[in-house]
Subunit: 428 residues, 2 copies
Amino acid sequence: MSQFNSLSVTELNELHQTLQEKYNAFKGQGLKLDMSRGKPSSQQLDLSNGMLDVLTSEDSQKAADGTDVRNYGGLDGLPETKQFFAEILEVRPEEIIIGGNSSLNMMHDTIARALFHGVPGSEKPWSALPKVKFLCPSPGYDRHFAICELFNIEMIIVDVTEEGPDMDLVEKLVKEDEAIKGIWCVPKYSNPEGITYSDEVVDRLAKMETKAIDFRIFWDDAYTIHHLTDTPDQLKNILSTCKEVGTEDRVFIFTSTSKVTFAGSGIGVMAASETNIKYTQKLLSFQTIGPDKINQLRHLKFFKNQENLAEHMRKHAELIKPKFDIVLNTLEAELAGSGIASWKKPNGGYFISFNTLEGCAKKVVSMAKEAGVTLTGAGATFPYGKDPEDRNIRIAPTFPSLEELQKAVDVFCLCVKIASIEKLIAEQ
Amino acid sequence: MSQFNSLSVTELNELHQTLQEKYNAFKGQGLKLDMSRGKPSSQQLDLSNGMLDVLTSEDSQKAADGTDVRNYGGLDGLPETKQFFAEILEVRPEEIIIGGNSSLNMMHDTIARALFHGVPGSEKPWSALPKVKFLCPSPGYDRHFAICELFNIEMIIVDVTEEGPDMDLVEKLVKEDEAIKGIWCVPKYSNPEGITYSDEVVDRLAKMETKAIDFRIFWDDAYTIHHLTDTPDQLKNILSTCKEVGTEDRVFIFTSTSKVTFAGSGIGVMAASETNIKYTQKLLSFQTIGPDKINQLRHLKFFKNQENLAEHMRKHAELIKPKFDIVLNTLEAELAGSGIASWKKPNGGYFISFNTLEGCAKKVVSMAKEAGVTLTGAGATFPYGKDPEDRNIRIAPTFPSLEELQKAVDVFCLCVKIASIEKLIAEQ
């Protein structure tokens, strides 16, 4: 495909007319397609239906230590649940807290607790400080940024490179500014970039000098086992890296089975140093009697071991990979070499991060919406919902069927082309 | 039985020796009995085992509106779950938020949100005020008081009468003091007193003039359907009472199925005016994607309607009532007319509230502990864990077997007598 910016205004206008006709044809179809959220498809959910059968009234409702999972207790999870997730996150069971159905809720609460009470090492609760700031590698996860906004935590954008956040900038900022108390990281198959942090980035995050003595990395390892290929990305263990350099209290790790078993009925987990865990357990004991242990036992009986879990994730990949391929192949066919777009090819996770020409993302999203294709709001991947260059669009291909997805991405490519042409014409 | 205080020192000493011998005999038995927490027995939990079978892989996993309960969504609950709990709490579905497995968690979060953001009508977030105070009808629920302590909310003790909190004092305090932002209430079969608020108390709570414009009643209706008799206590509907007098934003209502189905795997609920609910929904959307919808559907399929729920609660009562009877009959046989103790006879709920002579509760609890009988810590039913008269002991009879319970209450009565005699001798 020829570069769009090498075309004359006349050629652009002609092309615009052809594309607009195609677009109008789509609009006439009354489509209702959704590529907005990282939702599993029903075929993916079917993979876990067996979990609905593993704990009936005929089965023992006892945990390994004899605990009746139907009764109160177990503030931070059953021992075997901790063991299971410790293996996934490559930490020790003592470094685990099992939560309810939402790791997002655990992140929110961890920040709320830090604001009210501080974290181990804090001189004061964070809310007692004149200002609290977080570094926000962007594009990133809108719900992370929303938590900061909710609590009036100032967000500072940091670019995301192929290797993770721009560490030169991160190191500079955290060394200088005591108000910077944290950084949001989705370190593996990141949302939405799909990149995995390099060993060097992990090392530098662990080692870096922070002006705040109670700085925390919020390490949302949501996609840790969500591979799309047989040669998964390798993420260096942040907790053990921190231990090596004596900063083990620096990191809060989170993950969940929301995209492993049932979204909304999975298990949320956090991991951290024993000091952080004990501190959190104590505050947690005021919040709740404990998470749902029956659901924990269901997960354990369904998976039994890490091998079965890995096999289960391969089945997810079998369903998801063709969807990523449809999007990536169509983008390639329609937009490669056009000079109006760029995108990432992730090895895992739930998203494809797409960049338009500067100033076109909002236009593309609203055009797609008008034609019945819902995308994540433009800007959502940046703090305060504002993409400074209005370029980034997060594509979530997992939920629609293959057929729907093909149509949705066709519409999307059309919208990208039309919006780009309009920008190029306006600039002539 | 003769009044203990009519006995001479010699008689008291003789009695003390006899009782002490019996006590020592119990101590030699190596008992391990627990009357400390309001935990359902395993027989009670068995009543809900059918809930483990109603939603298998063979069943539809769709809600009435077609929602796939296995996927994300449903921030505040499925429509039919709201409907079901609206019927229980006698409110409208629009006045309901369905939570996770813990109503305590919802109460904690409601206070945390009020501190961070205020409630509808607040001029400022509560945490921006120099001081926040709560009225704490006592004896009351230790976990309510613990939440206040966690957030540095000053607690003011208010006596509990047969009709509810001492309303003369409540009205006086809330009218005078702007810092008083809330009151904890367990209005039905209260924890631990077992009393139900009279219509007049409900009316006065709804009507009373509060200096704080954003005063809130935390109405923990935990035992709303937990009757022990066929002639249950009737609690006047606080929300509709508030509506009648124009104070509908004054109340947050909470309940759960923790003691209906599975403790730890039940459903927590809050109810309030639509203004409060919409405000809460908005803040909630930052905290979580939503509660476990599969567990909601399980509950709905298990109960189907209010009649089945009522029948289910009758089966609970059949298991619980004999346990209350053992405790009450033994207290009657051993301590009635002794002048050293008083207690309540509740028509529902989970507790029997017991008062020793002033200054004896701690002693009784520690003696019982030494003999292998665990009771709720003395003082736990008061703010800061301090019973100003050291009298109140909460007896939780539901968890032990009938046999264990008889032994436990025998030990308990012995401890009460011995501690009382020691007090009476010391006072001679």
